[in-house]
Symmetry: D2
Subunit: 278 residues, 4 copies
């Protein structure tokens, strides 16, 4: 039966990769519906994302590809289906709400397994959408202790990504290390500016004329993971910091949604502390 797959390959660059890979597709009579490549010349690394259709077996295709490319290569042959995500949030509803509306409309190519929060502010909103909500209070707990409660809950689910939709707690290496390249965050600032707490107040005090938001993978360096998407909005001296925050929220939710959509359609490669986005 005709089917379709996203093929993602990254490996050391060498001569003939496009030829060898496209030969594997050609030999199986597959159609290439979409194809993008990129070579990071600084580190001589090759990235390729192809959407192929035809008759194929995922394992056979994957094995055939691995045979023709360098040994260090990562090959993923992914059949499109809704990925599973866990949302985490704290008190603000804008980023979470944007995802919920898209979800309810069938516009989000994902299943939301649950929403986890360190507060109960968002419970009512989440329940309106018939999605499980878990309140895991952090009061009186060490940071890692709280994370262990959250992780126990998370580990009851199958999931592809954890999306931090304004989850306002700093994560320790315990948590981050457990879900490498699986956590996506929206940072309420135009990174690398205004790292840390209350960036809108920082931006206000600096008198900037533009504010922004950054969606990125979470790594152990606070606010320092690979950037997936960024956007900005103009502000002026007439903006008090709460106005900046309000304007910023619209940018935050759009940027997170855009990054999520890219990740869910397997368009993002992590490349060290950077990303390749096809």
């Amino acid at each position: 039966m005709e089917k379709r797959a996203r093929v993602l390959i990254d490996c050391r660059d060498e001569k003939g990769l496009v030829y060898k890979i496209s030969k594997v597709f050609y030999d199986r009579n597959l159609n290439i519906d979409n194809n993008q490549e990129f070579v990071d010349k600084e580190i001589e690394k090759f990235f390729m994302r192809s959407v192929v259709s035809g008759m194929f077996d995922v394992h056979e295709l994957s094995a055939a590809l691995k045979e023709v490319i360098p040994e260090d290569a990562h090959v993923r042959v992914i059949e499109p289906k809704a990925k599973k995500i866990i949302l985490m949030a704290t008190k603000e509803s804008h980023a979470l709400g944007d995802i919920l509306i898209k979800y309810a409309d069938g516009e989000l190519d994902a299943e939301i397994e649950c929403v986890i929060s360190n507060h109960d502010f968002l419970e009512e909103l989440v329940r309106r959408f018939d999605i499980p909500f878990f309140h895991v209070p952090a009061e009186g707990l060490e940071r890692e202790e709280h994370e262990r409660h959250v992780m126990k809950l998370i580990d009851e689910f199958e999931f592809d990504y954890i999306v931090l939709a304004k989850y306002m707690r700093i994560l320790t290496p315990l948590f981050v290390g457990a879900y490498e390249q699986k956590i996506i965050n929206i940072h309420h600032s135009f990174l690398p500016a205004f790292i840390g707490a209350n960036p809108y107040k920082q931006a206000f005090e600096r008198g900037v004329k533009i504010i922004g938001a950054t969606a990125h993978y979470v790594t152990n360096d606070l606010d320092e993971g690979p950037i997936i998407a960024q956007d900005v909005i103009a502000v002026s001296h007439r903006f008090e910091w709460r106005d900046m925050q309000r304007a910023g929220r619209d940018v935050e939710k759009i940027v997170l949604s855009r990054a999520l959509s890219l990740v869910l359609s397997d368009r993002v490669f992590v490349n060290g502390n950077k990303t390749v986005v096809f």
Copy 2:
């Protein structure tokens, strides 16, 4: 008791207006918290929006202002309170949903009286937020006949604005004339380009590199009312028209929300077919 009001004045321009108006405030010992003026030199028209605080009577203040300015002047002294709005939509949820999320969070400075739709697609979503939903089907009805049904429903409510959050029917002069300067629309295009149906398909076929959205007051000229806000997003040849639509939806909802927030805080003057936005 100390209170606050927004004072909106527009009139024929003449010498001494700022002096005369600020004297009225000064004589009453009012504080000016915020003040913006604009003169449209082409038509010699003066616009002023002041936020004043102190002890005053709305009617006395309004009368005093009218005495010192030209006879044709419009003077509005508005005590800040949540305005009442009626939302109209058809099938798409993004613009409506954005408003609902803000509403549920207390971020929208308005009361939503109800949502009216010519379809029942959005009923489930609206009911999740405990807001009255009315389905007024248009099948088999003349355009004006359908509008009369909608208007009968609308007229049961007190309201300040009707917000068309992707209401996909053309309105006749019957409807538009009944609610002058009270209807706000989001147009799924960067007006004045791509007027009319399916602008994303038009944009796709024209091969544009940027798409946009326009929020405007509705007048009897299709897609031709005074523009309140606009924004854009970059696209490329890789966007099929549905991708353009998807990207456009994010712009649409942001632009409508921004325009709505401006209107709800009495920052928008209609000036012929243009607006003055403070």
Copy 3:
């Protein structure tokens, strides 16, 4: 000797194109430094731009490629060298000046053969850069008659592109037909809005909140050729139309420069009335 070429191919889409093309490169031991493909699914057309390096003969490579791809294909194997351009302008200096500054700095990957104008306003500026300037007055001439004077001049030069840097005369089919896909224009508006004369006045009167500029190939439909690049800038009610024009000029020159740079590096395919930009 090692050299480098840009290989541009467009043809009817069919299975195996990437494989067959990359095999030609592989068989000649060429390195692919950069590769981008795109399939326009609506019309089933394939576009590919590869930068290859190694030992090759341009004609042999070109012939080998033509053998493996559909007969209707266009194949171009281009060795990077500065292209030759003719600039045309009228009275405004901003778009022309931006190109001259880049040229003087060695930042423009082109040789400027000459500047042609229907006025002599810009002569002094052009001469400052030691570039030939030709004044071809249009007074008293029929449109085509004037164009014949210009064309006679143009045809004395070898050139790759004619760049209209605010050349404010409408071109007839005589002129446009003579230089198909060779004329690039900057339109002082966000096409398809405000087609025709004085778009800033039109934009001002329409009360838009954003203005833009469009760089495009010139075809016989006025302001209707394939778009290469667009950008925008926010304006407000405080902008008189001359302020819009002033703000617009900055966008115009940036957009033209960006389009020119894309065209000079052979990154733009014309695809009917659209472009594919790699």
Copy 4:
């Protein structure tokens, strides 16, 4: 004789300021062509910029205004005329060139007194515009010693502003202190991100998706003066750092030109480490 002036006032905020100031205008039968006010509520400071026309004496008007407002007030009554500027640059021509083209066209509301550089790279370009160019080499000199040479030269001119159009040397307190609120710089980055040397390389290594530029007044804190204007441009993983630099240059020159135009029309107040821009 009818004339026009820009009146700039900043002082401690108190009740009645607009009334008292507009009364001064009214008593002299002056017309207010344009008027903007702003109150910084955090520090209770009032800013006002009025454009007035009529019959008046600058000194009498200034004195009358000072009488009605708080003692700490700064009052400036400025008759519009081309300001005098000194340009400083190093090797890159884009920001300088943009100003020169505007100047040659009469689009810059300023007289350029001279261009000073620590290198001779730009001499040829500057001489094309018949503007004095001074090369003040820094080789073998202590930083302050070099600055003393430059200052000696500067002090031979009357000038209103020094514009650093990519002057790539760090200035010491000696220089900065001598020309307080008179030095405008373009920083090749979206401040406060990527402070210091080679921000494009920093941005490249951080993998950002947007780069920007910042025009600001120069103070003794490196890259930390009040921001006048900022803008950004989108980039992708396909941009090598030199591509980022090239794209950034277009933003830099536009932002510097915009800031310069604001400063030359007396629209910018410095407010601590921020600006108020009318």
